[in-house]
Symmetry: C2
């Protein structure tokens, strides 16, 4: 028996068949075509599920459940995507649609929460009761595991960790507040910070790396230039890590989890990111004597996190 | 059968006999004498317990358990106060001492957590699965109830909500960080803010209220002067509530609890505090469509919170 997970992204819809342990036995993807009608996109999800099954010679009787990971607001009880702003979805009854194709339990869950579930079932948080996953991407996504279960709060909308204000009255955030952690520590913010530094210091190697085209700067550019010893890039990265550390120290003081896992593209920098990050967090977390401290690590599930987490939602709710 | 709760404060040691529902049937207190040796203070706690029992004609057979609420770091498993900085306690084996007087289960818990337990068992969070208590006093204390249980994290030191940085590189905090919520929203901070405003605006009614003596300014003074229409005080209170709202909005975005209860002296201002606070929080909490929102209310258990929470620790762990 297996689980099917669907990761409903803005560019790709990824799907996979996953075993009990979180191992993907088959995966596939299709372009989202985000400007299309929701009916067409949902229909493609159904086709993807059918294809996955037929490719593996499996039937609905081999599947325990299907899970859909989507950004935005969800109605878990009714299996509805209330709002997915990337795709223009409003009140899409995805459970009802998928059940016509495969009559098993269908779960919907927030994509950042799915990533946390994946780490909890099969990644760096496996076997740990308390874990927080931070996904650094366009925004900062959060997923919280408490007592080995996903924490979603009283109304299902908890864990918006990126929308914790760190610098009151600071940078404008997409959520309407000013100074959110996301406005400083997302990949989007790092790109903005890198561009601003280059404008101030046009002799920086950063500009060379992108062939003089500011629009080619991505979240990796400053890390690459810093590795080449570029002073401007070193400063950008130092300040970026400083604010990231401040947010993480808040999370430690609030949750004192066993582990905080950092996912998303920036986490691929590995120890280039993590070593200075841990160093900067020292002295910022609340004094707890000789008690054990939260481990700060890179998430492990990478691009498969969405599929695995969506597939195994039922194991963490 | 009853429970005994001890609230180990810096000035008073309060104790009470509490019933199943969180009702105090007898309470008493003794001065802490904080400069004394820990043995003497612990001995006084034992005497207080004996007195409470004899005053009510009860014996150890009428008592389920004894709980001690203390600030600082605790070893719950071994029943030890690791560090209570107010009293200079370091590794005080309080369970062992009290068990000699009354051989029942003895619990130790952080005082802010006890206050949250009290609200959860008998106060504004009764019957609710998700609650956060914020105690505004010398610092900002936090207590978190999740699934009707106290949340203490992986190492027991979670819920240091006051040590969430809101204004990075801002006011120095006692914890060593800069810009903690506590450094702006504690009663101590409000007094500092009030004094600074008076120094800038000596014609303010605030100074009149304290007979020209800055040292007489307390956390109530600016609220009193604001009620009299004093412009300086109105500004102090407006800014104080603004930052308090920012921190609470963070807590909502992170936890989405059923309720946030605000305790401590400042909460006695009631709707003078809460109405503008709720107003300022609007638009700062993350968009959650038509889902139910966190209620912001005053804590209900007042000065008895410490006794009731300590007595009923076993109901929320």
């Amino acid at each position: 028996m297996y689980y099917i997970g669907i990761d409903l992204g803005g560019t790709q819809i990824k799907g996979g068949i996953v075993d009990e342990e979180g191992k993907i036995i088959k995966k596939d993807s299709i372009p989202t075509g985000r400007t299309r009608k929701s009916e067409e996109i949902v229909n493609d999800i159904c086709l993807l599920i059918k294809k996955l099954l037929s490719d593996e010679n499996l039937s609905e009787n081999d599947i325990y459940s299907v899970g859909i990971g989507s950004p935005g607001s969800l109605d878990r009880e009714r299996g509805i995507i209330i709002a997915n702003f990337n795709l223009g979805f409003r009140y899409v009854a995805i459970r009802e649609a998928i059940r016509k194709v495969i009559p098993v339990p269908i779960y919907v869950e927030n994509d950042a929460n799915c990533a946390a579930i994946a780490e909890s079932v099969a990644g760096v948080a496996k076997g740990l009761d308390y874990a927080v996953l931070i996904t650094i991407g366009t925004g900062i996504g959060g997923g919280i595991i408490i007592n080995n279960k996903l924490y979603i709060g009283a109304n299902g909308a908890a864990a918006e960790l990126g929308h914790m204000v760190l610098k009151m009255n600071g940078e404008a955030c997409t959520c309407g507040r000013k100074g959110c952690w996301e406005a400083y520590s997302s990949a989007t913010a790092l790109i903005r910070q890198t561009k601003a530094a280059v404008v101030k210091n046009p002799s920086s190697k950063i500009l060379e790396l992108v062939g003089g085209d500011l629009d080619k700067i991505d979240a990796k550019t400053a890390f690459d230039a810093a590795r080449m010893g570029d002073e401007t890039a070193i400063e950008v990265i130092d300040e970026y890590i400083d604010i990231l550390a401040e947010g993480l120290a808040n999370i430690v003081n609030i949750f004192q989890p066993d582990v905080i896992a950092i996912g998303g593209g920036v986490s691929k920098e590995g120890e280039n990111l993590l070593t200075p990050l841990r160093e900067k967090m020292k002295g910022r977390t609340f004094f707890i004597g000789d008690l054990k401290n939260t481990q700060i690590v890179a998430a492990q599930m990478g691009n498969d996190a969405g599929i695995v987490g969506a597939a195994l939602i039922s194991k963490r709710i």
